[in-house]
Subunit: 135 residues, 4 copies
Amino acid sequence: MTESFREVVALHPHPTAVDRDALLRCIEECLDCATSCGACADACLGEDEAEELTACIRHCLDCADTCDATRRVVIRQTAADLGVIRALVQACATACAACAEECRRHAHHHAHCRVCAEVCGRCREACEGLLAALP
Amino acid sequence: MTESFREVVALHPHPTAVDRDALLRCIEECLDCATSCGACADACLGEDEAEELTACIRHCLDCADTCDATRRVVIRQTAADLGVIRALVQACATACAACAEECRRHAHHHAHCRVCAEVCGRCREACEGLLAALP
Amino acid sequence: MTESFREVVALHPHPTAVDRDALLRCIEECLDCATSCGACADACLGEDEAEELTACIRHCLDCADTCDATRRVVIRQTAADLGVIRALVQACATACAACAEECRRHAHHHAHCRVCAEVCGRCREACEGLLAALP
Amino acid sequence: MTESFREVVALHPHPTAVDRDALLRCIEECLDCATSCGACADACLGEDEAEELTACIRHCLDCADTCDATRRVVIRQTAADLGVIRALVQACATACAACAEECRRHAHHHAHCRVCAEVCGRCREACEGLLAALP
């Protein structure tokens, strides 16, 4: 896909002191994770045994909401508040870890859960990477 | 305004063990806070000296995104993950506290900032109230 | 609930020419509808026969996403683009009408669907009221 | 960036009859556009002459909110309502066209606006492509 947002982030008049690579990796993984979780919740809902996937749907919806909010906040470089960013990225890592764990339970029966668990795992790592890069 | 969501929450087939009043208060304040912050960011943007309100706009946008995500997650009662809820409500309290502090700086010059600071303060309290009520 | 956002909207330095009552009613109903739909999707997911409520869950999720985006856009009074507002409020009315229709099918078995259908109907009316009030 | 969501979409138990390529292109461009618009609004806010960019910030915020909602809705394949999808994708095309036009006005002075105008143009085309592909 096109990734013009990388360019827009780089063209900010007063770029953040936060490590650019860690920032962009967190944004990218939040995008893929929010979208994959939205698609996985929907795929689970379409399965014949959807009632066994109730917790998985719930985790995916929570994770998508948290990733979307986190991506929206961390991309802003003007007048950043590191305390707010830290708390939200930490919450995002928590949501991703919980969703990855639940999706893994269904990975053998549902390939969409297997893929989603992997994305959630990567997004958790990207969040932790950004947390480690914050001053 | 109508508050039918209170009824829908009460009609859930398997209501959460979390204290209903603390839950609803958090949802209500997140609704008012997300909406007030969105309106305050927009009012700041419309002021003649918008450049002095840059940090205020930024805080309001962050707070609105965090409140919307938090409200979406905490209203779900099916298969709740308390660790995820706790981390996100904590992040929301942090965003509200930071936004209240910044809005208060402009309260004497801009009445919308004064009102917004009050809403953010109430939402932070409601988030802390829910955190205290979680098992 | 507190409705401080009404005050913040009224304190905008350059208020919109759009009828204030129609605007606020649309915002309020979008808030109640997005939240009620989120709660109804979750209640449906928690029902024993969730598989019969698949379409209802889908409609509620779509309606919540559309109402949240619509409320975020219409509350902004600075540099408003009526063409954008019109298209989005129209889409919101469409989503509300479709969700109301689907929820009504389940109203006799599930009280949360009955209440949600009513909110969606009111939100559709508020959207149509705002459309009629646009210059 | 990783694009696991493409895989999750493909693994849905009952894939939509809608053309997969048109669907995925719309999702991808909505992701890039929402994120680029968020970053452009923030870059504009950080410029010294932010007051000349007020309309641009407003358009970017509206476009980001509309793209995020559209992407969330169109990725769902279970029990899709074509009327809702059509209205929302149409609103998204409208928001993208308006934002592209405003960003283009500032393209010579601000490279982030030039890039953002291009993304908005592509997203509008992707929305129109999906509209043309709907049955």
